[in-house]
């Protein structure tokens, strides 16, 4: 079982959390009409083998959104921080 160390509640089982997907793509400005930038943000992913930056929500806990760096091969969660403190690129 994946265990995620929520910064507010402590380490909990994965079943308490909802996956929020890749945290590295950010939407362009809503007024931006450029199709390529939108396609890139909505559909295209790095899908890395190794460290993956992603969002999780502690749905059955504090309901906070979290920013997690997790290895996609070993499943080790290397860091868990509140999503609002995530790097700018990750916030969209």
């Amino acid at each position: 079982m994946l265990r995620i160390a929520c910064p507010y509640c402590g380490e909990r089982d994965q079943v308490e959390f909802a996956y929020g997907g890749d945290a590295t793509s950010s939407f362009p400005d809503l007024a931006d009409p450029d199709l390529d930038r939108w396609t890139d943000a909505v559909f295209i992913r790095d899908n890395p083998l190794g460290d993956h930056r992603e969002f999780w929500q502690h749905q059955h806990g504090c309901r906070q959104w979290l920013y997690v760096v997790r290895d996609t091969v070993t499943h080790e969660c290397k860091s868990v921080t509140p999503a609002r403190e995530a790097p700018r690129a990750a916030c969209g």
Partner: protein, 388 residues
């Protein structure tokens, strides 16, 4: 190459099965080929179901072509792939699901595919072990039935194709990892491997869960995420279920294999992973589904559990097309639909590689469909690959 036949089987059996020759050559890589296909032999994760009950234009006829190829496969390959067209029940658990099933069935029939809407009594005759009691958590209102659907032996498919390809002069190079691509004036002209450089006029990628990883070596980013999908098999029991059944109340499917084991699977684990090992929440979910659908499952023990990596696309449909890079072609993004698509996937990819343009059947499986807003989203989930 030896031709397999019943006569030969008996002769070899009487000779203590000595003197069988290998099914395909163990080829050494040559310096160059017309086409190099990277991957293309993996059927490891599959729960072996074949069917063609797809509804969206672009998918429907492709999967039907695939099923037709399945029906001829054992003869074509001179290799028994143990296709058993035992039929599939897509269960419905509400009047609304019956309406949706009727719509799907009508679309299938308009495309010349067999489909039949069954009443609960008819479902009961086909699969009496399902829970028809008053206590059923999700009462069965009926089912959409495809008689030509069924199961096949996944290893036999890979072996049969390997032997058939070898017969046609294809070199199958095993234990040879691709480390990068060879380039000439912005064009891919081969692959760099652990066994040296191999040049090719065209390079095709058919690498299941690792399409993004390989494409990255060519500088491409794809509308794909890699996710885990688990499967389970129980201890063998006497025949109790002679059709394929898919649950309508949750994502779950089950069939009984030739050895008697109940083979089943359910949802993705739900987060990006190349880990090839499943996690416990899905084990629990699968078992809960199994128990809700077939009460006697609670008495069986799971003897095998395995997990594979799926390259999930952003709309749940595959990609078979020329990539934006000259000389590089992609057959991937099979989500968890790859096994049933095996023959048509290869057939369309071969056409695309040979003619440099897609066949009508794979003309919508392009990479640029996302940019153009022409997604083939059978489930209507949007760009959340872990939810397809």
């Amino acid at each position: 190459m030896t031709h397999y036949s019943a006569f030969m089987l008996i002769r070899k059996a009487l000779g203590r099965n000595r003197g069988w020759t290998r099914a395909w050559r163990n080829a050494e890589p040559r310096a160059g080929y017309d086409v190099v296909i990277v991957g293309g032999g993996n059927t490891g994760r599959n729960t072996t179901i074949v069917r063609s009950n797809y509804m969206i234009d672009g998918n429907t006829r492709f999967y039907e072509k695939s099923l037709q190829l399945w029906e001829e496969m054992s003869g074509d390959l001179n290799f028994n792939v143990m296709l058993s067209q035992r039929g599939q029940l897509n269960l419905c658990h509400s009047p609304a699901q019956m309406d949706a099933a009727a719509r799907r069935g009508n679309i299938m029939r308009m495309n010349g595919i067999d489909a039949e809407l069954l009443t609960p009594e008819e479902v009961r005759r086909k699969a009496p072990i399902l829970d028809f009691s008053d206590q059923a958590r999700f009462p069965i209102f009926g089912a959409l039935w495809q008689q030509r659907a069924g199961i096949a032996r996944h290893d036999a498919v890979a072996w049969g194709y390997a032997r058939g390809a070898d017969r046609h002069g294809v070199d199958i190079i095993q234990g040879c990892e691709v480390k990068g691509f060879l380039w000439e004036r912005g064009r891919v002209v081969g692959v760099e491997t652990t066994r040296g450089a191999i040049r090719a006029q065209k390079v095709g990628l058919a690498v299941a869960g690792h399409t993004s990883h390989l494409a990255k070596m060519a500088g491409l980013r794809l509308p794909i995420e890699t996710h885990l999908l688990q499967a389970f098999a129980t201890e063998p029991v006497k025949p109790v279920l002679d059709t394929v059944v898919s649950f309508g109340a949750a994502h779950f499917y089950i069939s009984q294999d030739d050895k008697g084991g109940m083979v089943m699977g359910s949802d993705l684990d739900g987060y990006n992973s190349y880990g090839q090992r499943g996690d416990l929440p899905i084990v629990e979910e699968s078992m809960a589904c199994a128990k809700a659908l077939i009460p006697l499952m609670s008495r069986l023990r799971v003897v095998r559990q395995w997990s594979g990596v799926m390259d999930m696309t952003m709309d749940g449909s595959p990609i078979i097309c020329k990539s934006p890079i000259d000389g590089l072609y992609i057959d991937g993004g099979w989500c968890y639909g790859g096994f049933k698509a095996t023959p048509a996937s290869g057939w369309c990819f071969a056409h695309t590689l040979a003619k440099d343009h897609p066949h009508e059947l794979n003309s919508r499986f392009t990479l640029d469909r996302f940019r153009r807003g022409h997604q083939l989203d059978e489930k209507g989930m949007g760009p959340t690959p872990w939810a397809h």
